[in-house]
Amino acid sequence: MIRWLLGPIGLCLAAAQALAADPVTIGVGYLGLAGTRSTLSLVEQPAENDGVAGAKLAIEDNNTTGKFLGQRFALEEHRIREGEDPVQAATALAEHNGFIVAALPADALLKVADALRDRGTLLFNAGAIDERLREADCRANVIHTAPTRSMLADALGQYLVWKKWSRWLLVVGSHDEDKLYADALRRAAARFGAKIVQERTFEDTGGARRTDSGVTLIQRQMPVFTQQAPAYDVLVAADESEVFAAYLPYRTWDPRPVAGSAGLVPRSWDAAQDQWGATQMQNRFIKLNARRMTALDMQAWTAVRMIGEATSRTNSGEVKKVTDFIKGPNFEVAAFKGTRLTLRDWNLQLRQPILLVDGRMVVSVSPQEGFLHQVSELDTLGYDRPESKCKLK
């Protein structure tokens, strides 16, 4: 009964900032797609609550802090079904929530951002890694906690160059996002002095990802596909569509390591990350969600923690005040990555170290030592201010 009453009262207070003694309710919406994508590896199959589970943990963390400050955080989730209008769903969420964490494809995110602009809702892009959302299509009401393709590619590129594996055989899938990732990898090779000795395309001819006698066929296909390559150090695969990359390790014609979409993979987070106090966070996540934490979970956690960080620093639940603080020069957030995370003020992308993982261990963390920058070494990952085409509006 009391809780039922507190909700609406809290909302009024959040708007009016009346009595400091009463708890302020801060509403956070989570907007994702219904259903999950299919992966080649059964163990990497995302859970139904991929992403929102991270937001849920951050709400708990924020509430632990909030009880000392008279702030209460509430999460409202909505999954967009096939054929449902994302703008309508987002508008409904924005009724009760000043902040929305979105895990949506780029086009849907842009539609939502434009529809909510006049309302003052602050959006967090926790899912889309598309460069254009931070470049030509950037928006002043969208903060990006997901890394970009170029950040991921640069993180991998720096490590491969540090390792002196500078001759890459690039294998690219036939879908659009595979080609975009290949673009980012080519850019990384050019920036850090690696050489792409040859490119091959792996055509998606359709077919099931799960079969009862799959391995036998794959074991014959992959060596043939990778034979007669010029001398190379590492095979770099661009396969965001999950068509072939996971089949490559241990099956290449030449005995070479695989990186990119399989083998050594760049990610914002991994269940194996245990440095910089991350173990506590991983334990909290497992306790709450009965599974391990993914990169999408972390990107959503970070978004909700950014909101909590700003509400505690400003001692306010007012969306405008909180938004201004997050976009301001003094904002920083800790996210178990060994360094403070800040926003690139020219496109609202969160600067962050990128982990290089092999599915079991964190192999390394980029930026690598020796890649220098005049402002922040984190800006050696991805498009930098002078290259940016973003004009925030």
Binding site: D61, T64, T65, T279, Q280, E309, S312, R340, S376, E377
Partner: protein
Amino acid sequence: MLRAGLLSGLVLAAAPAHGFIAYVSNEKSNTVSVIDTDGWTVTKTIKVGQRPRGIEFTRDGKFVMVAVGDDDSIQLIDARTQAVVDTLPSGPDPELFTQDAAGKTLYVANENDNTVTVIDLEKRARLGDIQVGVEPEGMTVSPDGKTLINTSETTNMAHFIDTASRQIVANVLVDARPRFACYKHDASELWVSSEIGGTVSIVDPGKHEVIGKVTFEIPGLRKEAIQPVGIGMTKDDKTAFVALGPANRVAVVDTATHKVTKYLLVGQRVWHMAFTPDEKYLLTTNGVSNDVSVIDVAAQKVIKTIQVGELPWGITMAPGIAP
């Protein structure tokens, strides 16, 4: 000058009655290294539980308590036999702890469940828990024993807890990831280091307000590399030493102005520190270079490096001279 410092160290070494004993927890090796300052050598390596971090002598100097986080307990090392003799019932994943002036009550930060556990040291029994913020870490008791301070790393607060009622009486927001708290001996200020924020907040313990901040700037080093953790305050409260983590330096801070007067280059990823009881030397644990740096406090110079186990983390000094 450096040679002079070394010479005085040698003179000290020649007089064995002046030797002190330091215990260093090695997070990765699951060991504790015993250092004799008489000659600056490791005299013994003690096997302990998994992931030893927080380490402190009991007030009577008879035992060393070491938090072994991955075993969810605190082990007691007998200082005479230098062997583990008992285990205290801490909560899950203990990292840092502190004791009251009498050495009767122990307060343990349990990172995994947002609590501080209270332990009766005489009975070696758990008395209760106090709910605090997310990931409690830094712990200290005010000089008058009335207030317990706990910092929580993700909540970014210093919690002021009344030791009699075990209730939180105030929460002070500090910069990101507060890791260590330390009172001035005269109780006029509480210093809290923020690892990710890169600052030390100076808190007025009466008003529960941040009244100043120590900031750090090292030419040629990015701001992100400066991550303050351990703090050491001289008994006259005039000088503070702050370990700066991956900046590989200890800052010397004038406590009157709250300004850094000097940066001392130590080993890599410097975590915590302890003074010798005569306050002539300050020993720091350097996590990545697996060693301990010895600082001559008066000269403000690093005079020696001692190799210890893997990833040295905490350090404590025996209250008296070596037996």
